[in-house]
């Protein structure tokens, strides 16, 4: 009897061990569990690969969506678009997938694609998120040189508390505070350094004015004193500074314009990032 009891005790212990130790790592259930863990650990590439190991029969709507989302998070937009567009209408995540597609178009700077997608598919196929889609659609105009819609039309999808900020973006885009390169060049040709001051480089403008004037004066003084050779050397130096200043003013205007365009686009991206591209946060890992 003692032996039988001992045997059973040993077997129970062993079986318990076997249950914790003998894991089928590649069973569909375990692959899914592991993929979920990787997804929440933000190891998205591995998560996508693990989810994709699951046979079609084991894949739910949420898995298909998370595969696409994983590719999107690692900036593999090509794969992400393919996966999102493969999500069928009956899926629980169909609407979210369509909005994500718009976001990817945005991140890819494919604004023309985004607009045609919105007009031809999003409006007709998607039940939810029409306002969010319209917001992204309107935002796309701020990144391109295409003609802007009217201000009222542009602002219409945005909430009241957003309107002020969006309105300032719109105004900036409509009338960007660019400096005219030609005008800067002409101004510096008339009064050395004035073009630079016009562009906002006041210190550079004053230095350019003083330098050119001083060299011109020395050249004039040498001509007056009869030192012709020396006078021509100083004339060349003055001419060099003068030409450099005119060219520098045009270049400064171009640099200024490029800088403010960059800052504007950065501002837009920061704003959109903060708003998460008008996509509500998913609660897959809570």
């Amino acid at each position: 009897m003692k032996i039988v009891f001992l045997f059973f005790l040993l077997c129970i212990t062993a079986v318990q061990n076997a249950q914790t130790g003998n894991v089928d790592f590649n069973s569909p259930d375990n692959i899914k569990k592991f993929a979920d863990y990787l997804f929440c650990d933000k190891d998205y590439l591995r998560a996508a690969i693990e989810y994709e190991r699951l046979a079609d029969i084991n894949r739910s709507d949420i898995i298909e969506f998370k595969i696409a989302l994983s590719y999107s998070y690692i900036n593999d937009y090509y794969s992400a678009i393919q996966k999102f567009s493969g999500i069928i209408k009956s899926s629980v995540y169909f609407n979210e997938a369509k909005l994500e597609e718009m976001k990817i178009n945005f991140l890819n700077n494919d604004f023309a694609g985004l607009r045609s997608y919105f007009k031809n598919s999003f409006i007709t196929e998607v039940d939810k998120y029409q306002t969010e889609g319209e917001k992204l659609f309107n935002f796309s105009y701020l990144f391109t040189d295409d003609a802007l819609p009217s201000k009222d039309e542009f602002l219409s999808p945005f909430d009241f508390n957003e309107k002020e900020k969006i309105s300032s973006f719109y105004d900036w885009k409509n009338e960007p505070p660019y400096k005219d390169g030609t005008l800067a060049g002409i101004m510096s040709a008339v009064i050395p350094g004035s073009g630079k001051i016009y562009v906002g480089e006041i210190g550079d403008g004053i230095v350019a004015f003083i330098t050119t004037t001083v060299f011109a004066f020395i050249a004039y003084d040498n001509f007056k004193a009869g030192h012709t050779t020396r006078a021509w050397i100083w004339t060349s130096v003055a001419a060099l500074f003068y030409a450099g200043n005119v060219y520098g003013s045009v270049a400064a205007a171009q640099v200024h314009n490029a800088k403010i365009t960059f800052e504007f686009n950065e501002g837009l991206n920061v704003y959109l990032n903060k708003k998460n591209y008008y996509i509500t946060k998913y609660e897959f890992c809570d």
Binding site: T13, N17, A18, T20, N22, F25, K33, F34, R46, D221
Partner: protein, 294 residues
């Protein structure tokens, strides 16, 4: 008497039966237990094979899988260590340090602790965060538990100095291990080849262009000398002729500009040449040196 013999025989037979039962039970238990171990061992061995095949991405995946299902935390040290090493091979240094730190936390003895810490130091050397490497080396050296490894710690300190571009200290550190250490000789050779940036600048202060000539940039040095002589001559000539305004303007806008340019040039050339020399030495260490590398 015959009854007694019978009883003894029965008892012997019972003993045999009991022993057989014990044996069977133990056998069953061992087979169950070893089967239980096998599933995780197999997974770990599989990951090891992937690592040996230089398939580092899959190594990380399989080890993460092992850790995820390893409820008993039996592989916390080995798996995290190998994940860290795999990430290192893929140049994902931050991830590597993260997992090596996890391995360090799970180290069960002094050898394991030493291995993880040195791995972290090697990664810091490799990614040139040498200040962090020095800090970790200092803590290892100050810890009495690691006195047996003092030569090895010095070895990695020498490497850290080489990556920090301090070849003099590197040579000294390797000399503490062995006065004829191959890396000591290399560090000394590199140090001999390096140009002194301050010397290049100083001689350029005295004779414009001399710093460039010292670094082997003869044309640049001669041009610099020529410009400085020309503008210096014109400045002095203007002052002698009492054309004070001309003198000030030439000195300020031309001579001083070329003189300052000459100093900057001398400094830049010395730094650039030193970088080439250092990189050449590091290139040799990467491809030509057979010893342990970060």
């Amino acid at each position: 008497m015959s009854i007694l013999i019978k009883k003894i025989t029965t008892l012997r037979n019972m003993n045999f039966v009991i022993n057989r039962k014990y044996f069977t039970a133990t056998l069953l238990f061992i087979s169950c237990s070893s089967f239980a171990q096998n599933s995780f061992d197999t997974q770990f061995n599989f990951a090891n094979t992937l690592y040996s095949d230089e398939n580092y991405f899959d190594t990380v995946t399989e080890l993460k899988r092992l850790l995820f299902f390893d409820d008993n935390s039996e592989y916390n040290y080995e798996a995290n260590l190998l994940i860290g090493k795999s990430y290192k091979q893929g140049a994902k240094f931050s991830d590597a340090i993260r997992y090596l730190t996890l391995a360090e936390i799970n180290a069960e003895n002094i050898d394991e602790l030493y291995e993880t810490r040195i791995e972290i130091i090697r990664i810091n050397i490799l990614r040139r965060t040498t200040r962090r490497a020095f800090k970790l080396l200092d803590s290892l050296e100050a810890d009495e538990r690691f006195t047996d490894w003092s030569d090895k710690i010095k070895y990695w300190r020498g490497w850290a100095y080489m990556f920090a571009d301090d070849w003099v200290q590197a040579a000294q550190t390797f000399a503490e291990i062995d006065t004829n250490h191959v890396l000591k000789r290399l560090a000394e050779e590199v140090d001999d080849d390096l140009y002194s940036v301050s010397f290049a600048k100083t001689i350029s202060y005295i004779i414009p262009g001399a710093g460039q000539i010292y670094t082997g940039e003869y044309i640049s040095g001669l041009l610099s000398l020529g410009w400085n002589v020309l503008w210096g001559y014109l400045t002095i000539k203007a002052f002698i002729a009492e054309r004070i305004f001309d003198g000030i303007v030439i000195a300020n806008f031309l001579w001083l500009r070329f003189y300052r340019g000459n100093l900057q040039n001398a400094e830049n050339f010395a730094k650039e040449k030193n970088m080439v020399i250092s990189n050449k030495a590091l290139n040799y260490l990467q491809f030509g040196y057979d010893g342990l590398k970060p």
